[in-house]
Amino acid sequence: MSDLEAPAGSQMKKPMVVAEGVWKSFGRIDVLRGIDLHVDHGNVFCLVGPSGSGKSTFLRCINRLETIDAGRLSVAGDLIGYREKGDRLHEMTEKDIAAQRREIGMVFQRFNLFPHMTALQNVMEAPIKVRRLSKKESRERAQQLLDRVGLGDKTHLYPNQLSGGQQQRVAIARALAMEPKLMLFDEPTSALDPELVGEVLDVMRQLAQDGMTMIVVTHEMGFAREVGDALVFIDDGLVVESGHPRDVIGNPQHERTKAFLSKVL
């Protein structure tokens, strides 16, 4: 963890995620009103804000679970959902979108494990069906990943036989099985009992140490301050304040940020 300094301008690699003026509306309601941000390689990027501020919607736009209405959104230099030919954008086919998504792991607030499969089968499924791995290879990898999240002895259990924290750790292992270059976390601990939050955050902390690029929508300010490399406060579809988590949380500049933080801290 040596490069904790603010994102260096002289970074060789392009940023992992770049958003420029991302705009999204549901019917008449503008949920995102021009989001600009960039997420560097290997960073843990925290999105915070009140509910309804659009932070989850923005996260879902990154792997095109939602489409954006205006602006540009790219991951690892590739536009999400569109191909640029000359100065025109062409919509991607379902196949190409699926190919983009497999590079981006996602962890949901409500886990969304497949209830008819065991923990091991949940992790094995996508590598077999999408990456065309052999069953044997996929099983070994799944076992390793479940060991890594501390559930090596629960592989044969179905999701409803696991606690919420265990389910969320299986969900993280499932996303990692696709070897994504970016991980999205949509309030991963919000549906958990307080005493189970820690075990999920531990796994995420480990992941951050291993150098995974992560975008995390969270209300866990302690986690953001400790693990985060950058933090953005979003309200009403706009970026209100951004910077290093220590600075934004410790010394917020904007009134709206102060009011929000005083409630969640």
């Binding site: 969304n112 409803n160 696709m178």
Partner: protein
Amino acid sequence: MTQPVKNERVRPDPIRAVPVRHPGRWVAIVAIGVLAAMLVNSVLTNRGWDWSFQGQYAFSEPVLRGVVTTLWLTVVAMVVGLVLGVVLAVMRLSPNPVVSSAAWMYVWVFRGTPVLVQLVIWANIAALYKSISLGIPFGEAFFTFNTATLIPNAVAAILGLGLNEAAYMAEIVRGGILSVDEGQGEAASALGMKRTQTMRRIVLPQAMRVIVPPTGNETISMLKTTSLVSVVPYYELFFNAQVIGNRTFQPFPMLIMASIWYLSITSVLMVGQYYIERRYARGSVRSLPPTPLQRLRSRLGGRGRDRGRATPLAVGASALPMDGSTPHE
């Protein structure tokens, strides 16, 4: 303030209360008992039932042939209905409005007209279209078939039953698919799975839990509906039983015999349905309900101690994994 909690309670004697009396139950038992006795008496003494005559024909060649026909008609019509029903349900949920309207139209027509009428129409389709051709639409025909030979009575029966069933199955399957949480599809998409993969591997297996029970009903219903194909005409159990009844001037015993056959087969189907439902309950219930065999064994084997423990454990274990004895069949 906080005191150490003492954990030295002795288990008290269980409550011994005088149970509530249920006089209504006794009245019902007597009334039903009398009615049952009357029924048994009439069944045994009224010569009209003519059990020996029924027994004489129950396993005769035409009746068995009818049973076999009834069975395969049921199976084939259900397979047609199920396959076409799944296709229609997926079409109905398609984002393409033309495709989904086409599926809606199909269901509208085939569910909105009596299956008896549909059967007669298929039987007489040759009157409407003398020949059926394969070729360019509105243009040249390459092959031409005589409708009457292309659609013999067996095919007319299958078309009538199967296409009608598909309309019902489409609605059942659609309901099942809609019952699956949206997050499941999102999770699969986020992993890079395509729409068809998601449907086949993630959504449909979960929808099965909702689809199976009504499909069992449909199968039982289909078994009985096959008796309508005598209008095609096609010779199945009911038709053959009636023929024997008319020939021997003993129609009534033959009707009863056919009913007993139908009842026996539906009973077997009900057992099958129980096991299929049990299989698709995996992952949705914490422990599977026991099979009748397991239930019998547990009742004969561990009494008292085990039975007393079962309920409180099941209630208290909400977030804990099971002890490993129950999850897998």
